[in-house]
């Protein structure tokens, strides 16, 4: 798993968290640009699932494979569920769900990155 992929995904998820945070303060629900940002991050996470699985199968590294696959197989579910759960709550609490989902994705990608590098 290349470092830059993890950094890009974390940057995207953090940008999503910051954006949701601003909307939260303004008391607004998700808007279209934020949706598309999250969609791009989600696409990256699905690519990560495929690429990460292949990389794990081929690598000579000492990686905790079960935990790595555990994170890989669940991280891409967070944003779809988060967005769906937030969508029907048009108050700032719904936007808070998006902040939480983005932070969760950031932490999970960080853990994947750490696991891959044996940290």
């Amino acid at each position: 798993m290349a470092d830059w992929v993890a950094y890009a995904l974390m940057a995207g998820a953090l940008a999503g968290a910051a954006w949701s945070g601003v909307l939260l303060v303004l008391g607004r629900p998700m808007n279209d640009p934020l949706f598309w940002l999250l969609a791009v991050v989600e696409l990256g996470l699905v690519v990560e699932l495929i690429a990460g699985s292949i990389a794990l199968a081929l690598t000579e590294r000492e990686v905790d494979g079960v935990t790595f696959i555990g994170y890989l197989a669940t991280v891409w579910l967070v944003l779809p569920f988060g967005v769906a759960w937030a969508a029907s709550e048009k108050t700032r609490w719904g936007t808070g769900v998006l902040v939480l989902a983005c932070i969760t994705v950031t932490v999970m990608v960080l853990r994947l990155h750490q696991l891959w590098n044996g940290l």
Partner: protein, 137 residues
């Protein structure tokens, strides 16, 4: 069609936090029990219990009917007792649980959220009860 009170407003975020903990606790205990259960049976069994409690609380808060609210209250109360007992035990005797659980050190590994969450959860179940009788179901 009105949604159950437990998942509206602040409840939206509360349920989301519970879902994150249900996911992380389940994944963690799944890995522990699948790969190294014999090494620390008590700690890993405890991880499994914690995961189950978070799962039950999440589902119950989402459903939000009269029965579900009672289930939620019980699950969250167990969660509170769990984090207090396990937190105290790990602080008093660190060797008792050789590997981390969600509740170790009062949830210090998770920013003490596991300690605050059950208090917020019980307050929320109580708050929605006084506002809307015994819920919508």
């Amino acid at each position: 069609m009105t949604e159950p009170a437990t998942r509206q407003g602040p409840g939206r975020l509360l349920v989301a936090v519970y879902a994150v903990f249900a996911l992380s606790a389940s994944a963690r205990s799944g890995v522990q029990i699948a790969t190294e259960f014999s090494e620390a049976r008590v700690a890993y069994a405890l991880s499994g219990v914690a995961a189950a409690v978070y799962l039950v609380a999440t589902v119950a808060l989402v459903r939000g009917g009269a029965v579900a609210r009672r289930v939620a209250a019980i699950a969250i109360a167990v969660e509170l007792v769990g984090v207090l007992v396990v937190g105290t035990l790990t602080v008093v005797d660190g060797d008792l649980f050789p590997d981390e659980t969600v509740w170790s050190g009062y949830g210090s590994g998770y920013g003490y959220v596991p300690l605050v969450l059950p208090i917020l959860g019980l307050a929320w179940v109580w708050h929605t009860r006084t506002r809307e009788g015994d819920g919508t179901g």
